[in-house]
Symmetry: C2
Subunit: 202 residues, 2 copies
């Protein structure tokens, strides 16, 4: 299995380089369990979902704490048939294939109760894509039902769903959406935007 | 059919609001053929691909001309089964379903010769997702073959492909990727990032 994300931080300030560089230190405690490579457009982070989502959360919280208007953007993927297996991605976090949708929704909700409180609000918007054989829309609709019970559902928009809440709760909800829906051997991706300190909502 | 995008501009400058507001006027000439709605995270643009991609191109070119480091981000979708048909989305731009992959690749390349020269470089990174029945990986690999012949292929990265070139060529290439691959009645999405004036590549 191969899993990871292409991640970017967009601080809307003249001091954007400083905000990016100082926020990246939030990844230090995860570096042994992730592979990280940066170019001028994004940072590749390869690793299992149970490490990847907390790492993204801490990166977002560090950037939001700058009080600048900052957006974290990520293209997340697991199980892409075009990517090689990678031992660093070994995970026990993906749902059992034989488990019915309802039971996976319950597991996802139970996992949320362990989410930490991080003290920074996250306004997120994301799309979950499930590829390959099978009824991809039933998995997506099952995920949306879970989101509506998650405590951080904001509203549905065209092409995506909005979440709002403490960063701990929001990133835990995203992790469950990524891990519990779509077949564990399948190709599942998320297109994610998380916005902090926007002047439009002050 | 329903098609469109959730679009955001991220100018990395204290004057980000001015860059966003002034760039939006680039959409004026398209407004009759698009439905546009904005919230604090993104702008929904609904309409057919042959209008949507030139509109995104002109929005990007206007923002890049500010000379700030600016990123345009878009979640594009066509044919999502969860969205209603909308007359404004009627299009003749999608490939014929009975046409073989090779012939669609040729049509895509032919369309690129009509792309205008816009005078702003676009460094783009995107993922194409093809959902539902059928061999989604053969459509994606067929698209990647087209990209390699497009004249603006930069390189493959994990989870995405990089393009570089004049904005006219890059957005025309993205439009062809969106229209020629994946079944015309299918659900096809693109996760797109286009970066201008990054200090990392100066």
């Amino acid at each position: 299995m191969f899993a990871g994300a292409q991640v970017s931080l967009y601080p809307m300030t003249d001091g954007f380089v400083d905000v990016i560089v100082s926020s990246l230190s939030a990844l230090d405690r995860y570096r042994e369990r992730l592979r990280i490579e940066t170019d001028d457009i994004s940072t590749l982070i390869v690793g299992p979902p149970e490490v990847l989502f907390p790492a993204l959360r801490d990166l977002y919280v560090a950037a939001a704490a700058s009080r600048a208007h900052v957006v974290l953007r990520a293209t997340l993927s697991r199980g892409c048939p075009g990517e090689p297996d990678d031992p660093i991605c070994q995970t026990g976090a993906l749902a059992n294939p034989s488990e019915p949708l309802e039971s996976r929704q319950q597991s996802a909700l139970a996992a949320l109760s362990e989410a930490p409180d991080c003290g920074e609000i996250a306004r997120a918007q994301f799309s979950l894509y499930v590829m390959g054989a099978g009824d991809h829309m039933s998995e997506i609709m099952g995920c949306i039902d879970f989101l509506k019970s998650s405590g951080c559902f904001d509203r549905a928009k065209n092409f995506c769903t909005r979440l709002i809440g403490d960063s701990g709760q929001v990133f835990a909800t995203l992790e469950q959406a990524f891990c519990q829906f779509g077949p564990p051997q399948g190709h599942v991706t998320i297109d994610l935007t998380v916005s902090a300190n926007s002047p439009s909502i002050r």
